[in-house]
């Protein structure tokens, strides 16, 4: 018990010391790979992605990507958009229903958008991942193609 207490005290002391030395909190640096891809998002892709968004997504997720309370989930600041690309591409290919998003339940149904081409899906997801305050790597048409091929409905 005493040993544990000592460890706790020591840790607390070290962390205080560390905090004193480092006045600004450490920033999470993007990996070089991520940084390279972030730069690679072209204006043309964003424009094309916005057009796909306006035609297919805007009614429910709204012009600002903020969604509708308890009906349609927001697209900003969520791991569903910013995280795993495979999961995200599958949402577009298969639709989504009955899933809680970040602890919130949403009543509406998202239909499948598998009629969109690989490029359209890549463009719209790249646009969504880099709009509404989001910043994340681009989605390439080849990635969509691979996920679609492996997608079991």
């Amino acid at each position: 018990m005493k040993q544990i207490l000592f460890v706790v005290y020591a840790l607390a002391w070290f962390s205080q010391l560390a905090a004193a030395q480092q006045k600004t909190p450490p920033k999470v640096k993007p990996t070089t790979k991520t940084a390279a891809k972030l730069v690679a998002v072209s204006a043309a892709t964003l424009t094309a992605g916005k057009a796909v968004y306006t035609q297919n997504c805007l009614t429910c997720h709204m012009a600002d990507g903020g969604g509708v309370e308890r009906m349609n989930p927001p697209l900003n600041g969520t791991t569903w958009v910013l995280g795993d690309k495979t999961r995200l591409v599958k949402v577009v290919l298969n639709g989504l229903e009955g899933e809680d998003i970040d602890g919130e339940s949403y009543a509406s149904v998202m239909p499948a958008f598998d009629a969109l081409t690989d490029k359209q899906i890549a463009d719209v997801l790249t646009y969504v991942r880099n709009s509404f305050g989001n910043k994340a790597t681009a989605v390439a048409p080849a990635e969509v193609k691979a996920i679609r091929a492996a997608n079991k409905k």
């Binding site: 012009a63 308890r70 009543a107 149904v109 239909p111």
Partner: protein
């Protein structure tokens, strides 16, 4: 001498006493907020924020003693799904406790009983002579096992004067497509949703554990009804239907985005047993004033509907989401409001890219139990500004209505949990 001094002492005491009595009287008066709680109201009306609950306050009911019961969409941090508020000073109120561990929408009170619904069941609580619930943890389960598939899940409730309770069971679908909300997907033949949803069911108000087999499908072809109320003059149930969404998204070759924003109307129906309002086969076009064939079932935006479907009693702008209906029977408001309908329009999302609309309480005049004359916006600016309304980013969204014992009108907001009270001051 002593008596004399006493007499002089008595005078100021009496004065202070009567002054404090006067002050008490002023405190009990309902005082409108200087800015009328941010609302725009007709001349002579005032409004105050009764309480800030911070919860998702859906429907509301007030007992004759002035106690407010508010149903929460989901339980608050303390795990309570119904809030109890008691009047404090100046017409305001405070949350004194809560009960019921379930979320939901419906709440309704009659002398002696409080009814509340989860998204599957309807419960009944006993009210004592003070308007207090005596069995908060042991309600009677009146109705159970109603379908809940997330979409249109709220089980709004109302009662008639003959011991019947009416429950909305919303359709778990937009338009009964084979693939819900999928572009081009057609309607399922003989829409199976209507067997267990998409209508109003009638049950007995005092019988335990009723389910589908014990009830009657009172009216069908209603996509989703959140606001409903019994009209005592017509002795009839009135309901507000949420009309279908996404005509353009699903059938872009038939409807442009402007038509999709303006169609179909949000309709008021006066129901009789056995009525069919036509969903999903029909929608109401408020520009042509016609019932139209839905595109999922052979419609093209121009074909009128055939079949014996109920005519709406009144129609309102598309997608504005009527979430509460209340027939006003009080005497506080001027004569024109008596027996008319207040409707809380929660506000739209499905008008994009056109400007969003709603976020107001409307008034529909009635005469002899029927809508008579044009509806008007009664309480506006729940959104906070016209810009916030058109962007679909309102500060508040009106959701529930109740009439206080003095005739004031209570309005809930399920976005921030503000509870409003609208009063009329004779000029």
């Amino acid at each position: 001498m002593k008596n004399h001094v006493f007499r002089y002492l008595l005078l100021p005491t009496a004065l202070v006493g009567s002054l404090s009595l006067l002050a008490l009287k002023t405190e009990n008066k309902v005082v409108a907020d200087p800015d009328n709680a941010g609302l725009k109201l007709p001349a002579g009306f005032g409004a105050l924020k009764v309480a800030e609950t911070g919860a998702r306050t859906r429907h509301i009911t007030v007992t004759p003693q002035g106690t407010l019961y508010v149903k929460l969409n989901r339980p608050n941090k303390e795990g309570k799904g119904i809030l109890v508020l008691r009047e404090t000073t100046g017409g305001k109120a405070e949350v004194i406790n809560g009960f019921g561990s379930y979320g939901g929408t419906g709440i309704y009170s009659v002398p002696g009983f409080l009814y509340a619904s989860s998204d599957e069941d309807v419960f009944r609580y006993k009210l004592n002579a003070k308007g207090e619930v005596t069995n908060p943890t042991q309600p009677e389960k009146i109705i159970t096992g109603l379908i809940n598939r997330r979409q249109h899940e709220g089980k709004s409730i109302a009662q008639d004067k003959a011991g019947n309770i009416y429950v909305n069971i919303g359709a778990y679908s937009n338009s009964c497509q084979v693939k819900d909300r999928q572009k081009g997907s057609l309607g399922k033949p003989n829409c199976p949703v209507l067997d267990s949803a998409g209508g109003i069911w009638q049950f007995q108000a005092d019988k335990l554990n009723q389910t589908y087999g014990d009830g009657t499908r009172y009216a069908t072809g209603l996509r989703n009804v959140v606001g409903l109320d019994w009209n005592a003059q017509a002795n009839q149930l009135f309901v507000m239907q949420h009309g279908r969404d996404q005509l353009h998204d699903n059938f872009p070759e038939l409807y442009d985005t402007k038509q999709s924003a303006e169609l179909p109307a949000e309709c008021m129906y006066a129901l009789k047993k056995g009525d069919n309002a036509g969903w999903p086969y029909v929608y109401y076009d408020n520009i042509r004033h016609k019932k139209m064939m839905a595109p999922e079932y052979g419609g093209d935006g121009k074909k009128e509907a055939t079949g014996n479907f109920l005519e709406p009693a009144a129609a309102y702008p598309a997608h504005t989401a009527p979430n509460a209906l209340l027939f006003y029977t009080g005497t506080m408001f001027p004569e024109k409001y008596r027996n008319g309908a207040f409707i809380a329009f929660h506000g739209s999302w499905n008008r994009a890219p056109e400007p969003q609309k709603g976020y107001y309480v409307a008034f529909q005049p009635f005469k002899d139990g029927k809508p008579s004359g044009e509806w008007e916006v009664f309480a506006d600016n729940f959104a906070g500004s016209p810009e916030k309304a058109t962007a679909g980013r309102p500060d508040h969204k009106p959701c529930g209505l109740a009439q206080g014992p003095d005739g004031s009108l209570y309005v809930t907001d399920d976005k921030q949990g503000t509870i409003y009270r609208i009063v009329y001051a004779k000029k």
